[in-house]
């Protein structure tokens, strides 16, 4: 189906991208003023016995020449040993993956709903483009997107949580958790507002792309040909327009899925939701470089993988690209 050569090429590029990321993090880590060790151990205690420093150095291979350290670093990364956080003193990789689950609670429903809603409204809006309803929706979307995400979050908290008291002010569980333990309905209750907001935002992005896609499809000659066959408007929409308009969406939504994992720094921070986004803000406040680098590496991995997946998917779906052409 797809040419193996094309696939190999794309894999190489993806690998190269990831290596660039690792190299960047490696050099930054090593260019930090002071020693990685000193910085790390400082978080443990004030006076560091020299013996401990030596042992640590040796264990982490910091007494090796730079190139050897680089190789060791790469091997470590591939094995999941991503260093230790300055602030928490815990290994970075398990920390991040632990928080990832929490982020996913928000992201999965929001992404699915957001894509669905955005695509449907975008398709409809594009189909009726130029009409009053389309323009109304389009203008509304522009306004929504112009307002920053975190502001929407703050306003939502203010209106729904503070004034109306429909939802909690943030966090992922109520005080009752101290006595009753973590309950799923409680967590879900806390998740509703952040999920709603994320859905909102993801939908506007999808709306815009789908609408543009639909508009360009409508102008194509094969739509006129279909009309000349005597197909009615609904028939044209369902049999020809939709399929062609959805094609570019596959690529874009795949890519979007990974892009939003980090995009929700804002929403998680405002709602104090203990996911990766919130972790990012905390790490930033404490200037915790290893943790931030870990988050960066994870995000790079996900983004690169999703772009690769998007390429593969689109070449599988679009009959024109099945030959595996470049560009």
């Amino acid at each position: 189906m797809i040419s193996g050569k094309y696939l190999l090429r794309r894999l190489c590029y993806s690998g190269a991208s990831f290596f660039v990321c690792i190299t960047i993090t490696f050099f930054l880590l090593h260019l930090m003023p002071g020693d990685y060790i000193t910085n790390y151990l400082l978080s443990l205690s004030n006076t560091i016995p020299q013996a401990a420093v030596e042992q640590f150095r040796h264990q982490f291979g910091l007494d090796l020449p730079l190139t050897d350290q680089y190789v060791l670093y790469i091997v470590n990364i591939l094995h999941g040993q991503w260093g230790y956080s300055y602030a928490y003193g815990l290994p970075v990789f398990p920390m991040i993956t632990g928080k990832l689950c929490w982020s996913l609670i928000l992201l999965l429903p929001a992404t699915v709903l957001g894509i669905l809603i955005g695509t449907v409204i975008g398709a409809w809006s594009g189909w009726k483009s130029g009409g009053k309803k389309d323009l109304a929706i389009f203008n509304v979307m522009i306004v929504i997107r112009a307002i920053p995400e975190f502001w929407w979050a703050i306003m939502a908290v203010m209106v729904f949580s503070f004034y109306l008291r429909w939802f909690p002010l943030g966090g992922y569980s109520s005080i009752s958790v101290l006595t009753t333990g973590l309950s799923i309905p409680d967590v879900l209750y806390h998740a509703i507002l952040p999920i709603a907001l994320m859905t909102f935002f993801i939908a506007t992005g999808n709306y815009y792309v789908m609408r543009n896609s639909m508009i360009s499809v409508i102008g194509e000659d094969y739509i006129t040909t279909a009309r000349a066959k005597g197909l009615d408007e609904r028939g044209i929409l369902w049999r020809h327009a939709l399929k062609n308009a959805l094609l570019p969406m596959v690529t874009i939504t795949t890519f979007q899925c990974a892009a939003i994992i980090m995009g929700n720094v804002f929403i998680e921070t405002v709602f104090s939701w203990p996911g990766i986004g919130f972790l990012t803000t905390e790490a930033l406040t404490m200037r915790d470089l290893p943790l931030l680098e870990g988050i960066f590496l994870l995000d790079s991995l996900l983004t690169i993988a999703s772009m690769l997946l998007a390429d593969i998917l689109s070449s599988m779906i679009d009959p024109r690209i099945r030959m595996g052409n470049d560009e």
């Binding site: 194509e220 000659d221 094969y222 006129t224 040909t225 279909a226 009309r227 000349a228 066959k229 005597g230 197909l231 009615d232 408007e233 028939g235 049999r239 020809h240 399929k243 062609n244 094609l247 679009d318 009959p319 024109r320």
Partner: protein
């Protein structure tokens, strides 16, 4: 019997600053069994004529006049009525652009589509009809071809697919808009022979083209269009042998076989049409009257019409 009777058709498009009169008070009859060519240069309004018959003009077009199909008025007919007619009774072979066919649908499905839309045949019979038509149009392995996608075919094959689309429901009238545009000479002659065999011999054909050669090969009558109006009409052989209107004469003189003498000047911009005869500025036989008065279309004999003061 007049299959299509166009009377006083006017199509204009309005842009922010000006009004463009694409078709200006055209009367045209297409008789059943005829094959009529509409000849003119790009921008003279001939494609608009084809679209007007099909009811496919864009929403911002200002249309007036009448087009009768049999005894039915179709110019002002509602969309639903037109959808019954399109593809089934009047079909169009659209210009063969790169995107005239849906890229994500197999050509077999696309050709069978009109049959299914108009509920003429159930799916399996529609399929076999598609294969039969593909075979008749020169596809060696219709089964395999039907499962392929448009981009897998060359320009000439795609043109055949467009012809198949038009023929599948056995329509009474076929409108062909520049069917050989962009094809090289050998493919072009194959397609023309195909059209003559399949269409022109037993159906009514309305051919829109700028190519005199195509017109003379396929049609029994010719109508010449210039700047939105008809300037000459008549049986093909007569018009080509003895062209009356200076524009037609100029067109014939500009053919390679006649010596490639181009007509000087350019056709008038549709937004700024001159007051008198529209060909006046380029006409070698123009008189003073031509620049101030607009000549009407007159019948010079039983079968011929000319719009020119020279034949008053």
């Amino acid at each position: 019997m007049g299959l299509i009777r166009i009377s006083g058709l006017r199509v204009a498009f309005s842009t922010c600053s000006e009004e463009i009169r694409a078709v200006d008070a055209v009367d045209l009859d297409i008789r059943s069994g005829d094959s009529l060519s509409l000849i003119g240069e790009s921008g003279c309004g001939k494609t608009v004529m084809g679209m007007a018959i099909m009811g496919l003009l864009p929403k911002n077009a200002m249309i007036s006049g009448s087009i009768r199909y049999g005894d039915q008025e179709i110019l002002s007919a509602p969309d639903r009525t037109m959808q019954q007619i399109r593809g089934k009774e009047i079909a169009m072979i659209s210009q063969n652009s790169a995107n005239a066919l849906d890229p994500v649908m197999t050509i077999g499905d696309q050709i069978a589509e009109p049959l299914l839309i108009h509920r003429l045949l159930p799916t399996t019979e529609a399929r076999s009809e598609t294969l039969r038509l593909l075979s008749a149009l020169g596809f060696d392995e219709p089964e395999t071809a039907a499962g392929r996608y448009p981009h897998e075919f060359s320009g000439g094959m795609r043109e055949r697919i467009l012809i198949a689309l038009a023929l599948i429901c056995n329509p009474r009238l076929i409108i062909a808009d520049e069917p050989t545009a962009g094809l090289d000479a050998q493919v072009k002659s194959q397609i023309l022979r195909l059209i003559k065999k399949q269409i022109a011999s037993n159906r009514t054909l309305f051919l829109i083209t700028h190519d005199m050669g195509t017109a003379s090969f396929l049609s029994t009558r010719i109508a010449v269009m210039y700047a939105g109006e008809l300037v000459e009409a008549g049986p093909t052989k007569e018009v080509l042998a003895m062209p009356r209107h200076p524009y037609t004469q100029g067109l014939l003189a500009s053919l390679p076989s006649a010596g490639l003498h181009p007509i000087p000047g350019m056709s008038p911009a549709p937004a700024h049409l001159p007051k008198g005869c529209r060909f006046c500025a380029r006409c070698p036989s123009a008189t003073d009257r031509c620049s101030t008065l607009h000549p009407p279309l007159k019948e010079t004999s039983n079968t011929r019409q000319v719009r020119c003061f020279l034949y008053d």
